[in-house]
């Protein structure tokens, strides 16, 4: 069976790390390249972490391209307090055997889009700086992509502020450029990712699969459980991993086509993905907003994938 190409743009990050592990065993997509961006932690860390996790997954053949070290216009905003000093909950993986490629992330996105004309899915699970730069540099890029699937935003609520989700808050201008670029954008925001959670017990079940990768997935996610207890969620949200699974197979998700724009000027609402799902007034529809999923199927997929790493 021929799988379609996927490029992952990430700020690895504990849940990005698990998302990378998932990319090895997808049903419909094959990871052809990874680009890195500053977000959860600095881009040097996210790039090293990406190389390390790809090695852990046995995917040393996938090239890594380093991207933006800071947002388009605003000051960098990181999440060391969530992801630890090194970005992987301070779990030390072996030093990577290779370096990132020389090409910049935004050039790489364009090169792969051209190579797989009309077939490439870009899954972006960090701030959208690299994609915004790629769109700026290559105006034909949106027309070359099959779709852009992002982890970011929320139709309702936020997590960094009451109104904004981290990835969009970290670079609101870039996010608005992506939402309005003309390519089909799918938004896996907090509306769905907060429903894609694993309890402490379920994380242990993953680890009990026995492989190094499964134990790592549990250990790296466990560190952020405390933040979700404060949110009164039953477990830890698999923000980035569920986004990869949605890109691979959206059959067990609910999606609404709606208008989404990013507030860049509000004092309290900067970084809010203003989503026209419920109001009487219609904005121009530009995004597929993922609102819900079948959590049982999601869990089953996670165990299926992680079991493929062996025992």
């Amino acid at each position: 069976m021929n799988k379609l190409p996927m490029l992952l743009d990430c700020d690895t990050g504990v849940d990005d790390a698990v998302a990378i592990l998932f990319t090895k065993f997808l049903n419909n997509l094959e990871l052809v390249a990874v680009t890195t961006v500053a977000g959860n932690v600095e881009v040097e860390h996210t790039t090293r972490n990406t190389l390390q996790v790809l090695e852990l997954a046995g995917m040393e053949h996938v090239p890594v391209y380093m991207g933006a070290s800071k947002p388009l216009m605003c000051e960098p905003y990181n999440a060391h307090h969530v992801h630890g000093k090194n970005g992987l909950n301070d779990i030390e993986l072996p030093k990577p055997k290779r370096e990132p490629e020389a090409m910049k992330a935004w050039d790489a996105i364009y090169e792969y889009a051209k190579r797989y004309k009309g077939e490439l899915t870009v899954v972006a699970v960090g701030p959208l700086t690299n994609l915004a730069l790629a769109i700026t540099k290559y105006k034909e890029l949106p027309g070359l992509l099959k779709r852009i699937v992002i982890m970011g935003g929320a139709a309702i609520g936020g997590n960094v502020t009451p109104a904004a989700e981290f990835n969009v808050y970290a670079d609101p201008e870039a996010a608005d450029m992506v939402f309005t670029c003309g390519a089909p954008v799918h938004m896996c925001g907090l509306d769905v990712t907060m429903r894609a959670y694993f309890t402490a017990e379920e994380l242990d079940e993953i680890a009990s699969l026995g492989s190094r990768q499964a134990v790592f997935a549990r250990d790296v996610m466990q560190g952020i459980l405390q933040f979700y207890r404060a949110y009164k969620l039953g477990g830890v949200a698999f923000h980035d991993p569920v986004t990869v699974l949605y890109a691979d197979d959206d059959s067990y998700f609910q999606t609404d086509f709606a208008g989404v724009r990013v507030e860049t000027k509000g004092k309290l609402t900067r970084g809010k993905t203003v989503t026209d799902l419920y109001s009487d007034k219609q904005m121009e529809h530009n995004a597929y907003v993922v609102t819900n999923l079948d959590r049982d199927i999601f869990k089953k997929r996670v165990f299926e994938i992680m079991a493929k790493y062996g025992a």
Partner: protein, 313 residues
């Protein structure tokens, strides 16, 4: 005989304001001290005239004062698509029996607060222009305000824009003053009022009561539903009546204490009530936000209020 709660009704009628006031005037729990009008659903002249007509219909003979001609800072926005050209289109209504008093709404409120032995509840169901004016002009009377039961805002979504609800959008600065005032607030926003749906079969139940007020309420609902049906609603969301219902029958609602702030700037979010559901800002709660309602209990309450006018006749 229970001690009645002194209240001031402040609104921009408007069909749902009108039904809110029918509910308030029928309640043996409430002692309505005054009514004030605000510009919102229609111009201040029209909402004041409508207020007089509603008061005459329900036999409410207390002072009525007209509010400011426009919001504190912003330009007025009106909603003729929802409430018609008069602001209260539909059934014929009696002409106002009494003239508005010759003082500003905020000044009338201040006089009532000063004269009242116990703190007074304010029930604003329009933009918060008058309430903010009261707080700005008579800050020493804040302690005489027992509680504000307001219809406005939405934590999870808006209506007039995707992010903002009409009453707050019309006068965000006034809303900001009210939410920062420290006065206890119960917020009936879109989160609950969009659940407070009155269905066409409920209109018939009220119409069948066959008294002059019930008949008018049924016809207001007919008119109000016309707009909402056109945008896909299965019933009429009687937003403003939820604020009165929250005071007289809180047991049919679920409420959450929350920190709420009003966005004053932004390309898309001016007028948004930003509610910190997860507590990420670590601010103390300044509002009790109503998030759910027993719809049937709400309809029963409206029907009982409408029936009350038959007993009086």
């Amino acid at each position: 005989m229970i001690k009645r709660i002194p209240v001031i009704l402040d609104g921009d009628p408007g069909h749902d304001d009108a039904i809110a006031w029918v509910l308030a005037a029928a309640s043996p729990m409430l002692d309505i001290k005054a009514v004030t009008s605000v510009c919102g659903n229609q111009t201040i002249q029209k909402t004041t005239y409508n207020a007089g007509r509603i008061m005459t219909l329900v036999g409410l003979h207390v002072p009525l004062a007209m509010g400011r001609v426009k919001p504190l800072v912003a330009d007025a926005i009106i909603a003729p698509t929802v409430h018609g050209n008069s602001g209260l289109d539909g059934p014929a209504l009696p002409e106002p029996a009494d003239k508005p008093v010759d003082i500003e709404a905020a000044t009338l409120m201040a006089q009532i607060l000063e004269a009242s032995e116990e703190p007074v509840v304010l029930i604003p169901t329009g933009p918060l222009t008058n309430i903010a004016s009261l707080l700005l002009l008579y800050p020493h009377l804040k302690s005489k305000i027992r509680h504000i039961y307001l219809m406005g805002g939405g934590i999870d979504f808006g209506n007039w824009t995707p992010a903002a609800e009409f009453n707050i959008l019309v006068d965000p600065e006034a809303a900001d003053i009210v939410f920062r005032s420290g006065v206890p607030i119960t917020m009936a926003g879109l989160d609950v009022t969009e659940q407070a749906l009155v269905f066409p079969e409920d209109f018939e139940r009220i119409r069948a009561l066959n008294n002059p007020v019930a008949t008018v309420v049924a016809e207001w609902l007919d008119f109000f539903y016309g707009f909402h049906r056109s945008i896909g609603y299965p019933g009429a969301p009687v937003h403003d009546a939820v604020s009165v219902a929250a005071l007289i029958k809180p047991e049919i609602m679920t409420m959450v204490d929350m920190y709420v702030a009003v966005e004053l700037t932004g390309d898309y979010c001016r007028g948004t009530t930003v509610g910190d559901k997860l507590g990420v800002l670590k601010q103390p709660a300044n509002a009790r936000v109503i998030m759910g309602i027993d719809r049937e209990g709400f309809v029963d309450l409206l029907a009982e209020a409408a029936a009350h006018y038959g007993k009086e006749a």
